[in-house]
Symmetry: D4
Subunit: 163 residues, 8 copies
């Protein structure tokens, strides 16, 4: 796996960055190269279309798109590319994230978005890495180690509890 | 008011046409010229962008956009034009229209969509005509007549009830 | 466009004013004259009916009505006028704004209300200005500039992120 | 209790009549005089205001108002009168009655509406009769008999089940 | 109207008292005598049944019952008495009051509860007073004054806004 | 385990019987004696209180209570007895069972109701049998056989699918 | 009742412990032996399966399982054991506990979970004790005392209120 | 891409098969080999664990898991494997699919599930193929053709409409 960005992380607004930071951190943790952009399906639609359409030929292999409210970024991205698009619903000031979730997950037939939990940026990155792992064996190994670590942490918490 | 289309009616899929027919009928009833297109923010995104970007210079003055599920058509249209965009949430097979409603109404600051009721295509057209009426006095007159007729119908129903 | 108020901004209670301030600020930003009133469909129904009925002849061209909870102000206003009425659902102490949203958007056939997002007062004003722009060319130009500025801000945020 | 109408039953549209019929039947069952009207807060707002404002002096003592969707009729009625207003949320084609329920029950402080269940027209009439019964002793007696009958019916169903 | 309690105010838990205080204050404001009790359909069901069954003969004419979560107090009270029962849904730690609202308003046919808004204790008392007013003319006069005062306050807020 | 009824199955209305039939059938399938009653917390509250209070001394060991809408029967039963009470939310004509579910599951601290899925009468009976099985070893054995049968059926469906 | 653990309390994450503490405290209050474990259906699925499958033969008689979000722990536990499983939905950072509640309560036919209120850990333990009480008479007596104490506390609060 | 199954399609019950058929048809349409199994996280948990744990070494590269109600199959599968797991929420008899959606999408950190729309089986398969396409270039080409065909169909519908 060369060092060109494999995962594109895009968000509609810089207010989403604190949530998306967990996706970035996860890419770093697994040593997968990524790029991050603030790009909006509503405010910079042409830039966004260009970004999404060229994503595949520029070498990206998965796109993570996060948005809140009437969250169109993931779905519109999926309209422009055949790459898998992972959608992260961001919880806004009202409706507790339900609006973002439904705007992202309920895509029409033909144009899927792989939706994760509300504010689930870490899982979005893990899912992206799982996807890349079917092509890059070194990621498969790292994911297996990660799964063991996850179990270990859970067991340690249990042991700490027993004391 | 010349005969070039003033209202653009667009929908993501021909399955939305039975609902949108009421918008078309209302344009005919008020003798306002319109155009209808099936155009998708997900399946034909470039066509759609071109349509929305050129709408104003082609003489359209209001756009009615209908969509169901993760309903992005109205909001993405609004991203491409400064024309007022009216969104019609279409009720789908699950969630009773709530997904479409939230996907359309919860737009981020800077890019409004004028949302009407779920499946509210007739009201979308009436709203479009109210908007046009601030420019075209003949529509104002027709709307006043319509309002009187609406009241008359209600009174007639009441009288029929009393019998 | 003369200096008489074109946009009427009404709210049921002064507790809604902090939210509505963004609509006022947007009118000032676009140099569109407006008037603001606290007027209630429940507490001062006659004043309200008089206001709504006379709005058109007093020169108003669009009305923005905001309300929370069982939010009747926008819909009842629309019952009294043929002007386009924009409804702003205000988030209250419970139900996260869902009650206001549904009370405003689900209008019966014949009496539309152009609904924007919960607490979406800035978008309500932008929508009002988009509506006025079909009549007043100077607003069209300002909206085009605004759209460019919106894109610029988004691009600047992206560049700041890259640093 | 003289024979002038004590309960006013109003609805926004004749499509609500099948549901409201149960309220009418209940008035007949308890021999309480009533009047029924189709009157709309949106389509015939002036008629409605006049109706609600004059209700008390015309001798009405309780008003039952039913509406669906953005259901404003009960609340706006309550704005015009000091009579107790009972609201019946009518289930519409989408959202399963939740829109009507919230539009009716979430009234602002100062203007209560006594809300019953979705499509709960019989209970609306029973509540109206309970209210009248604090003034008219003959209704109190009838309600006591009704409560005994209700219990008897339940017991009979139980006995039928045991067989 | 003599000085024996006319309105019974009951709640399931003393944690509901801060909300119910507004109902108490409203009774005092209108000089209507009331009684307050903490009494639970779940924790003291026999006391509660006795209370509700004897309410009418003890001279109460309306009961206000408040409860949160699986809010059974209003409905079970209504099962024991023919007095009008007003239900106040109390917002709890989760679900934003929706659980209380539905537990109170969706009563089965035969046993109505007059439901007011979530945490709407003041409106519950106002509704109780509207009900009493059909029997006690002095309350009718006070309610008319109250309605005028409500309008005045709204007008004053509007004038303050204009300055 | 003697033949006196161990499980009491109660419902507010005979309209709930078709759903509850599955609970009855399950008792028969496991050869556990039961009794069935139509008894209402709203229509026959005294009978119900008597039933619930005497349940334990009459030899019942678990109670299954089903109700729809503002579903108070399970919770009020739990207020009268220390027996485990299993609540079955019944789906009504509106709100898709959400009202029943919340009315049953959101019980206040001190008075639990073991809630199963909407219309989940078979699971209610299975849960009752699981509870009885901690005391009656023959039921434990039957449940183990049932679990094996459940797995077998699933495997058979899979094999049928493969063909 | 010997001193080996009768109630197994499990949770998916140590972040759920503050809520579960009330279940633990209740076990101590009733002097019922219990064990507590952090064990996850997602992170340590094999440990969890082993735990659930061996629960009955190790002497546990009831299992309390708590989880938030997509809350699978209670249901998957129920898949592995014939012991009664009590599910506690934990409120997470979004959706106000609705996701946990539905993930736990809506179990398919054949595999029940006894669901209590969101964050209802105390009631989960009380329900577990009610279940054990059908086998252990000393718990029956303690529950009867508890019920009396619950009523006393309610009465004391009422008396305090009257002063 | 050899002919061993790459996509595992699993469902909890054969009642989900009519929905899942669209996923199967899509695999056939793209000539991607797949396997289908009825396997339940609740009824055959050991079989399921074995299936999920061995999936990767048996050559599967993506798993599609569908379930309704308290839909645990996708999440529990994801707990056992590092393969990407796609979850399809199935709409059940109540709650309109909301229970399945939340049970699948709201996964805890560390264990993602790629969720698609309610009953969105075709999109689940398309997403699986998009994932495989990052490794198998022939699928990339087919997806590009599919995207063109999708646009063509939309354009044809539009042209048909214009006639």
């Amino acid at each position: 796996m060369d060092k060109s960005p494999k995962i594109g992380i895009i968000m509609g607004s810089d207010s989403d960055l604190p949530i998306l930071q967990k996706a970035i951190d996860t890419c770093i943790e697994f040593d997968v190269s990524y790029e991050v952009k603030i790009i909006s399906a509503h405010r910079t639609p042409d830039l966004h279309a260009e970004y999404a359409k060229s994503a595949s030929e520029r070498g990206l292999e998965v796109i993570i798109a996060a948005a809140g409210g009437a969250a169109h970024l993931p779905g519109v991205t999926a309209g422009h590319t055949i790459l898998p698009v992972i959608g992260v619903p961001i919880k806004g000031k009202s409706l507790d994230g339900m609006d973002s979730l439904l705007s992202i997950v309920q895509m029409p037939s033909g144009v899927p978005v792989a939706t994760v939990a509300i504010d689930g940026a870490r899982n979005a990155a893990l899912l992206a890495i799982q996807i890349l792992a079917i092509k890059y064996p070194e990621l498969k190994r790292k994911l297996e180690e990660f799964k063991i670590k996850l179990a270990e942490e859970s067991k340690n918490k249990n042991e700490k509890l027993l004391k």
